[in-house]
Chain length 115, copies 2
DNA sequence: CCGGATATATCCACATCGGATACAACGACA
DNA sequence: TGTCGTTGTATCCGATGTGGATATATCCGG
């Protein structure tokens, strides 16, 4: 099992995290990221769609047919994680988890049940 | 309470986190980051020292006299967090914590005592 | 049918990053 | 004492990622 071939960018992780809950289209990803961070993190169209393209090219994400119920908005393009994409997201999330733990150890955050 | 004036870069947070445990010199910060991430995150001299300079310029970090015991290595330059720097680190760590929680909710990570 | 929000896509200027390079000082060792 | 590998800091440059503006097209409400 080789390392993550192309290293994951910050924006890349945001997108993977947004898609971890299921398939979604670009604009929804944008709103997810903004909502999750209370507006402090924003992607902007440039970063968002370029990042999606790169993730697809790297095999972390695939475009899927809009299998939703009624045929609402024809413009939307839906994406979902590949197994590879999911594992990349897990790996990055673990890393963040370790950094959060370190922050707790340093007294930066209220500690969340260490045991 | 104004927003973080200059937004914190990823490398910037790594450095702040390393300094959260107390004053340290650049090379030690480099090793701290590498150790914490099991070698997956590296700063490299370029990013490291440039980042330190920027953090100092932004008032998040100050250089301090080497108050350590014996006068060992004259080359080392020690830095520590300012109150502003600490609060920026707290803010960023909280954001990461929220992203980790989202990752847990999405089933990416083993859940750590939700209740 | 008209205007604003939704939705995607591309372009360009700017910031950041990573590695190479350089150089000085420390420590070990013969 | 001299030499060599490691520690430690600093700068430069090419490559990469980001953010915002711009451009369209579609959806929905009045």
């Amino acid at each position: 099992m080789p390392d993550r071939n192309p290293p994951l960018t910050p924006a890349g992780f945001q997108v993977l995290l947004a898609l971890a809950g299921g398939a979604a289209h670009g604009y929804a990803v944008m709103r997810f990221v903004e909502t999750l961070s209370d507006g402090t993190v924003r992607l902007g169209p440039g970063t968002l769609y370029r990042t999606l393209q790169r993730l697809v090219a790297d095999g972390l994400v695939v475009e899927v047919a809009n299998e939703s119920e009624d045929p609402h908005d024809a413009r939307r393009r839906y994406y979902e994680l590949t197994p590879l994409g999911r594992s990349a997201a897990v790996q990055e999330a673990s890393l963040l988890q370790r950094m959060v733990s370190a922050a707790e150890d340093a007294g930066l955050l209220g500690r969340r049940k260490t045991a």
